[in-house]
Amino acid sequence: MPRVTLVEGINLALARALADDPDVVLIGEDIGVNGGVFRATDGLQKRFGKLRVQDTPLAEGLIAGMSVGMAAQGLKVVAEIQFMGFLYPALDQIANHMARLRNRTRGRLTCPVVIRMPHGGGIHAPEHHSESLEVLLCHHAGLRVVCPSSPARAYGLLLAAIRDPDPVMFLEPTRLYRLAKQDVLDDGQALPLDQATILREGDDVTIVTWGAMVHDSMRAADLLMQEKISCEVIDLSSLSPVDHDTILESVSHTGRLVIVHEAARHAGLGAEIAATVAEKALYDLLAPVVRVTGYDTVMPYFAQERAYIPGVARIADAVRQTLQG
């Protein structure tokens, strides 16, 4: 079983999809000859040819629009946006066409497109390269939004995304691309797309998180265990739709909820989760829900980004806060 990084897991899944299904086509900026800014598509053009792995101009609107056209004609497109801050030109095509094709044609056509993009900061990058913009996508009906947290989950979820008949926004936590390795069996097995995963069972507090924050939340849970505080850590994985059932079941067990996300707090996905728990599980709560998030300001450059991104200390403090009083 190969021991791979998250970005290598993505490369494995892309290669598997290209090999298994002749309709799968990869497009994006510098993904072919260069192998991608993060090397996610390294070697794939050489292996599968220029028709299957195509370089595009530097035009995100074109990438998304072209994906809609190709998908409508029966191809399965996996497009790459180099950084999430470059998503904006593509949003028009994604929101107004890609997400609506099934509804507009009353189910006659679907739009099997995966748009892959790095998500979040922590790699000392300049402006526009470290954004966490998942709510821009989650707010649109017709899109799945998925965010893996480990090499194995990246592999399985990306295969599921490619096989799904509808558009999937696939957010890849940039900081985790090479942070750790995991044994990943390249067996073509997909993971369920709309299920949250309990990464660690616990009794005192539920932590719901996704992407790179899963890593910090797990470390916070380790730290808190030394204080005899038992955390249940849920990797949300699917940001739209949200697997509320798993969260509600966990909260009914622990009675406390901390939501951790790197994106800004205001109108973040954490608010949606907190609201749902308030609507459906208020009487199970033993303490107010606490959110640990980025701040409501522009994502700072490298010198300050550690202050912006929630870390182990802030997560652990939030958990302790729910246990006071």
Binding site: R3, R39, I123, P126, S150, R175, A180, K181, F302
Partner: protein
């Protein structure tokens, strides 16, 4: 020596020009400290230090163009690391493996375990409670898990918690939180007693007063040396209050802070603070301004007796427009009595004593009543208050 090579500062940029150095040879620098500003085809980018160390060599001067991957800075030390990305977490991989990428992706030797699927588990069977009920139970030291909820599916409601506090009376309550649990040596001396009845009402009205009333107290004395024998202390105080209220009607009033409205009353209804073993009781003497001394005395007697044996109807215990605390019959000269809203003033009468006073340049000893007037300064002015007090004193100082 550690060598730091120029990383790709854009996406796939081949070179960058040195704008200015922020560090010099011999400087000790920290991780992430900006070392140099480099201008690329896209922007001026600050290049941070990849590791901590002392600078040995700067490759190039401002205006020089450096190729991506060429040496930029050498650090003192033995280890040779040919990388663009020394990293803060033990990364050692070669520059090329990260791709032509902006920034630096951290790498570690960590290997993630693949978690096993979670086993299903049954419901925990914890008490479900309305959040406000849970908080009330915490404050009242009621063990919420001991309550049978009356709401849907056993939901514990506010009423359930309130019922529990009442049914427990003054007896021992289950201690639900550690914050109210005293050390062992203290707990031996007394069980936790949840306030009830009059004492609980006092706690609530005092809290209300503290949170709402802007209290101001003035002190003075009434010289009663000239009183004829047999002056009825309480009746004289009541009469003096009536005189004061006629002089300053603004003290015989209610004030509502929410609407910022006050209501002045024609009749003077004086509540008298009566101390009972169960707590403070405030029976009310109606229409003090139109009552003669005989009626006032008989009402005082009736209300005090009724207060002591708790036989007064509710109608005798509400709607006072002014309050008198005659605490001096026990002890104490001055006090800062507390105004109980919606009333706006309270007069406290202290222990009568013989005071040394100057009379026409001579020293005499006179009987005096110490007076303490507290008023709600939100709706009563200082001038009104002291004019009221002056009228009270003038009336008290009359011989009869």
């Amino acid at each position: 020596m550690k060598r730091f090579h120029l990383p790709d500062l854009g996406e796939g940029l081949q070179e960058a020009e040195i704008v200015r150095w922020h560090v010099a040879v011999g400087d000790r620098i920290a991780v992430d400290q900006p070392m140099v500003a480099m201008e690329t085809a896209k922007a001026v980018v600050e290049v941070p230090a990849p590791f901590e160390g002392v600078i040995a060599t700067l490759h190039g001067k401002p205006g020089d163009t450096i190729a991506t991957g060429a040496p930029l800075v050498d650090f003192e030390g033995a280890e040779v690391v040919a990388t663009t990305s020394g990293g803060n977490s033990g990364a050692t991989s070669a520059a090329t493996s990260q791709g032509g990428v902006v920034g630096h992706m951290p790498e570690t030797d960590e290997v993630l375990a693949t978690p096993a699927a979670a086993a299903p588990r049954g419901p925990r069977g914890r008490t479900r409670a309305v959040p406000a009920a849970r908080e009330l139970a915490r404050r009242m030291n009621v063990d919420i898990d001991s309550l049978a909820g009356s709401g849907a599916n056993g939901l514990v409601t506010l009423d359930d918690v309130l019922a529990a506090t009442q049914s427990h009376g003054g007896g021992r309550m289950p201690v639900a939180t550690s914050s109210m649990r005293p050390a062992a040596d203290i707990s031996e001396s007394g069980e936790l007693e949840v306030l009830r009845s009059l004492r609980r009402a006092m706690a609530q009205s005092m809290t209300l007063a503290r949170d709402n009333v802007m209290e101001c107290t003035v002190f003075d004395d009434a010289d009663i040396e000239g009183w004829q024998q047999g002056g009825d202390y309480t009746v004289r105080l009541l009469r003096a209050i009536a005189v004061g209220c006629r002089a300053e009607p603004g003290l015989n009033a209610w004030f509502d802070g929410t609407t910022q409205g006050r209501r002045l009353f024609h009749h003077i209804q004086v509540g008298i603070a009566v101390d009972t073993p169960e707590g403070l009781l405030v029976p009310v003497i109606r229409d003090v301004g139109n009552s003669d001394a005989g009626r006032l005395r008989s009402e005082v007697n009736r209300l005090k007796a009724g207060a002591r044996d708790r036989s007064l109807p509710a109608s005798d215990l509400r709607d006072f427009t002014f309050m008198l605390s005659n605490f001096g019959v026990m002890a104490g000269r001055y006090a800062t009595p507390v105004v109980v809203p919606p009333a706006v003033a309270i007069l406290g009468a202290g222990r009568i004593s013989r005071d040394v006073v100057a009379v026409d340049g001579r020293i005499e000893a006179h009987r005096r009543i110490p007076l303490s007037l507290t008023f709600d300064h939100r709706c009563v002015t200082g001038g009104e208050a002291v004019r009221f007090l002056g009228a009270v004193i003038a009336d008290l100082q009359l011989p009869a």
